[in-house]
């Protein structure tokens, strides 16, 4: 009886491990790639195209040769890159403001006159 319970638990673990494996694979590039190669995240195409692949199958059955080319074109990659660039632009705007503030910092304006007091 106990053996069956463990066999069952083992089977559940294998299923969970496979599910996590799939999840890990789909998330993998996002978690490990440095920002320098961020654009490559978008190249995990198979995950994104998977649903349209199944749709394609049924569509092909219905429409035969009519749409084989366009239905396979996935523009989500470009769409994702567009939103990444949007984030980049937001980032650069706040960075420019930060550094302008740093340059305009007037907190130490009296430093020069104070130090000149030493030599008097």
């Amino acid at each position: 009886m106990q053996k069956k319970v463990f066999l069952l638990a083992g089977a559940v673990i294998v299923i969970v491990a496979v599910a996590i494996g799939i999840y890990w694979y789909s998330q993998g590039p996002k978690t490990t790639l440095p920002p320098e190669t961020k654009e490559l995240e978008q190249e995990t195409g198979p995950k994104v195209t998977a649903p349209s692949e199944t749709q394609k199958l049924s569509q092909e059955q219905e429409q035969e040769q009519e749409l084989p080319s366009t239905s396979g074109i996935d523009v989500s990659e470009v769409e994702n890159l567009e939103s990444e660039l949007s984030a980049e632009l937001d980032g650069i705007s706040s960075d420019l403001t930060d550094l302008k503030g740093f340059e305009e910092d007037a907190s130490l304006d009296e430093l020069d006159s104070s130090l000149s007091g030493f030599t008097e």
Partner: protein, 287 residues
């Protein structure tokens, strides 16, 4: 029984490994925006430290000025000793505040993944060199005689003059490096868009509009690059306090313009994506 225990142990290990795996993926899966926010938060913390140091510096400056006024008025040995002590404290605090200022800038640079690595490293190294110089002065001040204190104050004053020029120059360098990073991203996107247009063309779609927009997108990137290059020329020309402000204003203007062109390019990209989605949708194929 022993086998059962072994099974339990293996199950526990597997569950543990899986939990760790899932947690790790959640922790490291950070978006670009989150990374920017984190970097900003770190910079703000360093900036707060610096501002705290500025307040201390202002207090010691006030004490130094009061001690000096008192000494000038009464000119006795007791006031002289107090004046010298306050002078030393003030000078030490001046060095501290300058170090904190540089550290906040170093923190800003080193936490920016969106800067080319080589530029990031060279800028951080330059800032560290300055910090090290100031640290050595701090040590010298703590053991300096009253006469040497005057000498150290002179050195710090000279440093401060150079520092103001240096800050403008280094900010110009960071801005252009930051822009280069974003421009590179735009160029990568351009080549991907181009490949996608080819796919649509091969599928028999009319891509003339997309091609025109892509040409416009690329042109705006080119102008942004020109502006970035001009900004680079200007920050490299900064050499003295006399011309620093003039050149820095020009650097800022070119950077702003480059950023504006990139924003316009992005707007074009939004239109490109919309059109691409339209063309790639099966219902739009004229069935």
């Amino acid at each position: 029984m022993k086998t059962n225990n072994l099974n339990k142990f293996i199950i526990c290990c597997l569950v543990g490994i899986m939990t760790l795996g899932v947690s790790a993926s959640v922790v490291f899966a950070k978006s670009l925006r989150e990374r920017h926010q984190e970097a900003r938060a770190k910079y703000q913390a360093a900036r707060q430290q610096y501002l705290k140091e500025v307040n201390w510096w202002k207090t010691t400056r006030q004490q130094f000025l009061q001690a000096r006024a008192k000494y000038r008025k009464f000119k006795n040995a007791e006031n002289k000793a107090d004046y010298e002590e306050k002078a030393r404290e003030f000078l030490e605090k001046t060095v501290d505040v300058l170090i904190k200022k540089l550290e906040s800038l170093k923190n800003w640079v080193s936490n920016r993944p969106s800067l080319p690595e080589s530029e990031r490293e060279s800028i951080v190294a330059e800032i560290e060199e300055d910090i090290n110089w100031l640290e050595s002065k701090k040590t010298e001040i703590s053991t300096a005689s009253p006469a040497q204190i005057k000498e150290k104050a002179k050195e710090i004053r000279e440093y401060w003059k150079d520092h103001r020029v240096y800050v403008k120059k280094i900010i110009g360098q960071i801005w252009t490096a930051r822009l280069s990073w974003v421009i590179e991203r735009f160029e990568t996107v351009s080549s991907k868009v181009s490949a996608k247009i080819e796919e649509l063309k091969a599928a028999g779609k009319d891509t003339s509009q997309l091609e025109a927009w892509l040409a416009d997108f690329n042109q705006k990137i080119e102008i942004a690059k020109e502006k970035r290059n001009k900004a680079k020329e200007k920050y490299q020309a900064i050499s003295s306090l006399a011309d620093a402000n003039k050149f820095f204003k020009q650097v800022h203007q070119f950077i702003k313009e480059a950023n504006q062109y990139l924003r316009e390019a992005h707007q074009k990209l939004v239109e490109i994506v919309k059109e691409m989605k339209k063309l790639a949708t099966p219902t739009e194929t004229g069935e």
